[in-house]
């Protein structure tokens, strides 16, 4: 065979192969999955591959979009009648905004009776005010105190604190200063989570986030629960000097061992394990004013799995829901998600699993979970106002001024967009 013929043959074969590949690709359906949290995506990817092996006509694309851009891009796409992704990681703080844009989970694939039977507290957390379901539980999350084990031992500390006063003493022992008196290692730092720990401390004193109708912030913000909680936190910063305004962001501070303790929600577990795998840390439940967990310890919130936008084409929607139904039967995946997130599974059958019972973060979270309050939707603008609140506190403004300004900001936002999904007052402390 001459060289020219050989080259021609190669070209023809190559052309045929590419045509066949294109044809085969065209027969496949590609579903795009979005999420903002790398540990979740990493947990999901093996399942996507597994599903593609079982259903060769389905392929997946994944994309990590940072939280700050995630909702904007989804909304912009949905507003234009597009679906930037076929399957989207969802967060229930976006419920009011997205409820018109999400496709309800079809009853035919996800019978409500079955969902109620297999999941914990399903109606309160997942059947929204229109009676429909738009996402399924991953797990129930709350806040804990993360502490550096080596620093703890070095400071000669033993049992973890049960009261805020014990917590203060521990933080003081853990703090280190330079020769100018600046904090080099914070005993505890809160950063952007200052408003959240204040919220939990307020819950412990019988306060609430919302008024009963969800149209304003509750009066406890500017009464004893709010004042006492903020006074304590402010004293930690300015009197006890266990941290300093403008200190490193709390995630970096803990990861780089510039903070001995941080308050965080348990998603932090996956983040620390991914970014600082060698860090030796442990967790304990939030201290309380009395050492007891009643009436409440903290807020909780459901981490949820995926949603599907209404604008996804019909055939893709069907396949997306079929995939999600299959995914929800994958207990190993759900366990992994809960381990990454430090959450207690929504699926009750997983509670008995060893991986859950013995997980170092989940087993601690389980202790305080019955004493945590699920408020329903907690819109993002509360965190935006919380940012200004934190600035005022760190500037040294008076407790009353800080709280008044914070409440006013949230009241104005709630007046424009009240919280419809408000189930805060349904909380009843467990009987002792």
């Amino acid at each position: 065979m001459s060289i020219r013929r050989f080259v021609s043959l190669i070209c023809v074969v190559g052309l045929l192969v590419s045509i066949l590949a294109s044809y085969s690709y065209a027969q496949k359906m590609t579903l795009t999955v979005w999420h903002w949290h790398a540990p979740f995506m990493n947990a999901l990817k093996p399942k996507l591959e597994e599903y593609s092996k079982l259903h060769p006509e389905i392929e997946f694309n994944t994309m990590l979009v940072p939280w700050g851009e995630y909702w904007k891009k989804l909304l912009a796409g949905a507003a234009a009648g597009q679906a930037p992704a076929d399957i989207i990681g969802f967060h229930n703080s976006q419920s009011t905004r997205f409820i018109q844009l999400l496709e309800p989970y079809p009853e035919s694939i996800f019978p409500l009776s079955e969902m109620r039977r297999i999941n914990y507290n399903f109606d309160q957390a997942f059947v929204l005010w229109d009676g429909k379901v738009y996402f399924l539980p991953s797990g129930l999350m709350s806040s804990l105190i993360y502490y550096n084990i080596d620093m703890w031992k070095k400071a000669g500390l033993g049992a973890t604190p049960k009261t805020w006063e014990e917590f203060r003493q521990a933080a003081k022992k853990l703090t280190k200063y330079d020769d100018k008196g600046n904090v080099q290692i914070a005993g505890v730092t809160f950063g952007s989570y200052l408003p959240l720990i204040w919220e939990d401390m307020k819950y412990q004193l019988g306060g609430w986030i919302y008024t009963e109708d969800g149209k304003a912030a509750d009066s406890s913000w500017i009464e004893t629960p709010g004042i006492k909680s903020l006074t304590f936190l402010r004293d930690l910063i300015f009197k006890d000097k266990v941290t300093q305004p403008g200190f490193l962001d709390w995630t970096e501070a803990f990861g780089t061992q510039k903070a001995a303790m941080v308050y965080s929600w348990t998603w932090f577990t996956g983040w620390v394990n991914l970014n600082y795998p060698k860090l030796k840390y442990a967790v304990f439940t939030l201290p309380t004013w009395t050492g007891k967990m009643t009436p409440a310890v903290a807020r909780n919130n459901w981490e949820v799995l995926y949603g599907v936008l209404k604008t996804v084409p019909k055939e893709k929607k069907e396949e997306a829901f079929k995939f999600l139904k299959w995914l929800y039967t994958q207990d190993d995946f759900l366990i992994k998600m809960n381990q990454e997130d430090g959450t207690v599974p929504g699926k009750k059958s997983l509670w008995a699993r060893k991986e859950i019972r013995l997980d170092p973060v989940i087993r601690v979270a389980l202790k305080q979970l019955p004493y945590t309050i699920f408020p329903g939707e907690r819109p993002e603008f509360i965190d935006t106002a919380g940012g200004n609140f934190r600035v005022r506190v760190e500037k040294g403004e008076s407790v009353e001024d800080c709280l008044k300004a914070y409440k006013e900001e949230v009241d104005n936002a709630l007046k424009e967009r009240p919280v419809i999904w408000n189930v805060e007052r349904k909380y009843k402390p467990p009987k002792q």
Binding site: A76, Q100, Q244, L248, V391
Partner: protein
């Protein structure tokens, strides 16, 4: 046949070639620029929260911006504060650098490159570095200030310092660009004027005041006009340095564009955000016209 010949001649004519070359660009601009502007104006007359029906409001959004929204005026104030500081400071620094570099001969290229490097660097990367520089406990700036006996400054956390911090970074980032424009302007000034003035005994300051600056007026006008337009639309520096959405501690770095971005993409009030954008457009238009009238150069030698 005559018609076909005429048609062929039109097709092959130079004008047709030009038309074919520019039509795609024109269509692009009509659709993605002017079309978008027209649609934005349409939205500004409506209430539209994404996911909900669009409701006609007339000029109520404009009224809300100008009469009811206290954050709008805070944003306006911050925007002008930013412009009033960064434009003259940036201009003065760039002129000094340009005049200095202009006289360096071969070394001019080296220094021009050094000062232009920040301009071509990614603003996101720059902001990450500057955020660390500004870190109160561990940042280099406070380390230097501390070594000189100064206080610990909360650059990006203190409302009174956040905007100056952004301005310092913005000036540092943009001065190279203005300097290059001035350098080009300086090279357009005939040397004979300087020689004649030196023969008459003019010193360096007199040369600058009486020859350089007057003959550089068209360039200065250009820099001022474009600088003002850019400053009034500042957003990226706030967004990346201070963090999303860019409003900073107690809205210290909330500019008009930051405000409208937040209204559009955090609160999804598209109609109101569009109205705010048009108010900004009107402000920029007025100031640009004023500037062009006031800075009309009368200098000729």
């Amino acid at each position: 046949m005559e018609r076909i010949r005429k048609f062929r001649s039109i097709l092959s004519s130079r004008n047709m070639l030009i038309l074919v070359a520019i039509v795609p660009t024109v269509i692009f601009y009509l659709v993605f620029s002017y079309g978008a502007i027209v649609y934005a104006f349409y939205l500004s007359l409506h209430k539209w929260t994404v996911g909900e029906p669009i409701i006609f409001l007339g000029f109520a959004n404009y009224e809300k911006a100008l009469r009811e929204d206290p954050l709008f005026y805070k944003a306006l104030w911050n925007t002008f504060y930013y412009a009033v500081v960064t434009i003259p400071v940036g201009l003065a620094l760039a002129l000094i650098l340009a005049v200095g570099i202009n006289g360096l001969g071969r070394l001019a290229t080296v220094f021009r490159t050094i000062y232009f490097l920040p301009v071509v660097s990614s603003l996101v990367a720059i902001s990450v570095v500057w955020r660390w520089l500004y870190q109160p406990n561990f940042g280099l700036i406070n380390q230097v200030i501390g070594a000189l006996g100064g206080p610990r400054l909360m650059w990006l956390q203190e409302p009174s310092l956040a905007m100056p911090a952004v301005m310092i970074m913005a000036i540092w980032h943009g001065v190279g660009y203005t300097m290059v424009i001035f350098l080009a302007g300086l090279q357009g000034i005939p040397q004979t004027f300087y020689e004649a003035a030196m023969i008459d005994g003019a010193n360096k300051w007199q040369l600058l005041k009486n020859i350089t600056i007057p003959l550089l007026m068209p360039t200065i006008t250009f820099v001022l006009v474009t600088g003002l337009i850019g400053s009034l639309q500042v957003f990226t520096e706030m967004y990346v340095l201070v963090g999303s959405p860019g409003s900073g501690p107690l809205n210290a770095t909330r500019t008009i564009v930051v405000h409208l971005y937040e209204r559009a993409f955090t609160y999804f009030q598209m109609g109101y955000a569009s109205a705010t954008a048009f108010v900004l457009f009107a402000i920029i238009l007025v100031f640009t016209i004023l500037q062009l009238r006031l800075l009309r150069t009368r200098w000729e030698y």
